[in-house]
Structures are given as structure tokens and as C-alpha cells.
């Protein structure tokens, strides 16, 4: 079976890759494009470690076929910092020590970014519900939630 030739945009850059029908977008990002920020946790859409944005929509890249990214706009953790300048969410995660092993962190950051784009002033409850699909086995979530709330406040200029 011939491979699919996929033309898409990743973090603002036009990219092309070849993939098999079965390959997920996560496989393509990691194995074809060497973008290994998105992680493979459960491979079943439960853990959120593979979270990316497609056309601004938060999704699990393990539950999307690579070929489905054709013509879309994909955003991953690699596009979050601008050069050496960390995104406020990334900075606040460091300040609040909102990570330990770091496996869930790229997915949490992408999910939090999607939340703040939609709702710049979320309540703690809204943050917790929005991030319910991002499992973290280290932090107990408290520091993550505090970091997101703090980053949101900073980004609002509060």
C-alpha cells in the first residue's frame, strides 16, 4: 500500500511527511518529524499526554490518523516558547514546581493554553474540569492548577 503524502502546517511551518494509513498523528509527529514533545501515554485517549491543537482545537494526537492532518494547522509544545522566551504558562509551571517527571507536562501545557485562549479568566473548577483529561501521577494536580491560574492572571495583566 502506497504511503500517504501529507502536507500540513506544524507550529506555523509548512511540513510534509509520508505516512501509512494506520499511523497516528502522534506517530507522525514523533517518528517522521522528530517532534518528541507530545508523549505516548495510554494510546487510548485517556491520559492526554499526546495533546496537540488542530486548527485551534484541543485533541489527543494518538486518536487521530496522521493522514487526517492534511491541510490542517497543528500546534505542539515545540511551538509554545518563542525562541528562548518561555510562554507564561511554562514559566509559571517552573515557578510553582508544577511538574516532576515531566511526561504529562507538554500535554497539560497545550491543554491549558487552549483553555486560556477560550477563557482568559477561568475559575479553579473550570481549570480542573478542562484538565480532567490530562493525567499526572506526580503532582497531585494542585500545583498544576495554581500555575495555570497564576499564568492566566499574568496574561490578563492582573
Amino acid at each position: 500500500m502506497a504511503k500517504h503524502h501529507v502536507t500540513t502546517t506544524v507550529n506555523g511551518d509548512p511540513v510534509e511527511y509520508l505516512c501509512d494509513s494506520e499511523q497516528t498523528l502522534l506517530d507522525c509527529l514523533r517518528d517522521e518529524l522528530d517532534l518528541i514533545g507530545a508523549k505516548e501515554g495510554c494510546s487510548s485517549g485517556d491520559c492526554g499526554a499526546c495533546s496537540v491543537l488542530i486548527d485551534g482545537r484541543l485533541v489527543c494526537s494518538c486518536l487521530i490518523l496522521g493522514v487526517e492532518a492534511e491541510g490542517k494547522k497543528v500546534e505542539t509544545i515545540e511551538g509554545m516558547a518563542q525562541g528562548d522566551e518561555l510562554h507564561p504558562l511554562q514559566r509559571k509551571f517552573l515557578e510553582h514546581a508544577a511538574l516532576q517527571c515531566g511526561i504529562c507536562t507538554p500535554g497539560v501545557l497545550i491543554a491549558a493554553k487552549a483553555l486560556l485562549a477560550k477563557n482568559p479568566d477561568p475559575t479553579e473548577t473550570q481549570v480542573r474540569y478542562w484538565l480532567a483529561g490530562n493525567l499526572c501521577r506526580c503532582t497531585g494536580y494542585d500545583k498544576i492548577v495554581r500555575a495555570v491560574m497564576d499564568a492566566a492572571a499574568e496574561m490578563r495583566g492582573a
Partner: protein
Amino acid sequence: MRYEKPTTVEAATALLAGQGARVLAGGTDLLVQMKARVLNPDVVVDIKGIEATREITKDASGYTIGAAVTGAELKEHPTLSKDWPGLVEAANLIGSTQVQGRASLGGNLCNGSPAADSVPGLIAAGAVATIVGPKGTRTLPVEDIMLAPRKLALTAGEFIVSFKIPARPKHGGDAYLRFIPRTEMDIAVVGCGVALALDDSGTCTAARVSLGAVAARPLLVEDAGKALVGTKVDDAALAKLEAAARAACKPIDDKRGTVEFRVDVAGTLTVRTAKIALERARKV
């Protein structure tokens, strides 16, 4: 496996009529089952290239919602949450934010799980599926589509293009509740959808009650609806509703709940759901 993304219903039907073909909408069930080797399709037919599966349109007769429209898109629609809040809430209980970005009404139904959250919401709302196949187009009420776990009333080559949701009655309200042992990211132990309509005096003129996860398929419980019609949805009517809901249950014992527990919860949940639907109906 082959991946195809047809742009017309005719092309999709032709592909789906072949052996080993599966529909891909949001993929949140299909890809998981492919990875687990529960399903090994020869061809995956991505229906999202067909415009009608991706649109929500509204006219005087109600809404037409494409089968591949996602839960997140339902929630963002400017009027759907006002007219059919229960249906939108049901769809947005499926999985996480990430899953809601992909999961669709058509997929939730055609995955064939009796515990699918959006299905009682659709049934209560009186949704009718538009199905296309090699012999043309037909319509089928949502309650008649799932026959048993993983078994649908669709024949080879057929797939659901969209759902027709009627216009909300003048004083109409709907609601969906599910019981799970935690607050998020779980599968219904019991799910309940209720839609009802009142006349100007507050008497119930129509009611549809649907229960999920208490039988081999999501149920339309006609006796439960009848318990409300002609009443002011007072305590006596709600007691009859509760009894009718329990009487309709034929659940299984599994890790999520025993038969006894599910039957009991179904009655309580149906009353709570009906009260929310009633409150919504009184407000409009």
C-alpha cells in the same frame, strides 16, 4: 488498511458496501478498538469530507446536525444549547475536553454501547437519523438504531449522515443526567434523558424519557413519558415516572453496578432529570 476520504455520500456508500469497511468520524472509539485489535478494518472511510456530516443547520422545523459534528462544536453553537441543553450536556459528558474535540453524535451512537451518553439525549429529544445507503436515503428514529451491544439496524453500505432534531416546543425543556462514581471521565452506570413540553397552564402535553446502561440498548421508556402527560408534573406524577423507569430496566451485573443498584438508581435519576427538564420548560 486503506484510508479513504470521499466527498460525496454516493462514494462513501460504495466504499462502505465492501467487506471490512468502517466509518471514521471522530475516531475516539474506532482508533482505540483498532489498536486493541478488536477491529481490523480493511478500509477506513473518513466521512468528514462530506459537508453534510459536518454542519449544523437550523430552520423552522428544527436542527439538522451532521453525524460527525463534535461535542465541542455542539456546545459552541449559538442557539443549540438554549434549545436543547440536555442533548448538548449529554454529548459533552463523553470523555475529556480532548475527546470532545473529536467525538461525534454519529460515532457515539454507532459505536453501539448501551452506555453511550449522547444517545438517551438524542432519543429524548425525538431525534431521527438520516441514513444513506446503496438503495438511497431513509430515516429512522434514534431509538430504533441500536439493537444490541455493537449491533445496529444499519445494513451494508449504510451510514448516518445527520440527525434531525425537532424545533423545541414553545414551553419545552430537556435534560440529561448520568450516575458515575466520580465527577468526570467515566462511563455511565445509568444515564437518563428527559424532554417534555407544557401548555400555557403548565400541564405536560408531551414527554419522552430515555434510559441508557440499563438494558442491551438505550431505551425509550414510553410508560415513563405517559406518567407525566396530562399532569402538572407533581409528586404523584413523578412517583409514577419513577416506578415506570424502574420497571423498564433490564440491566446486567458488572463492575460498574449490580442489577439491583442500577434499577434503583434509574428511578431516582429519572425523577431528578425530569425535574431539571421541567424547570427549563417553565422558564421558556
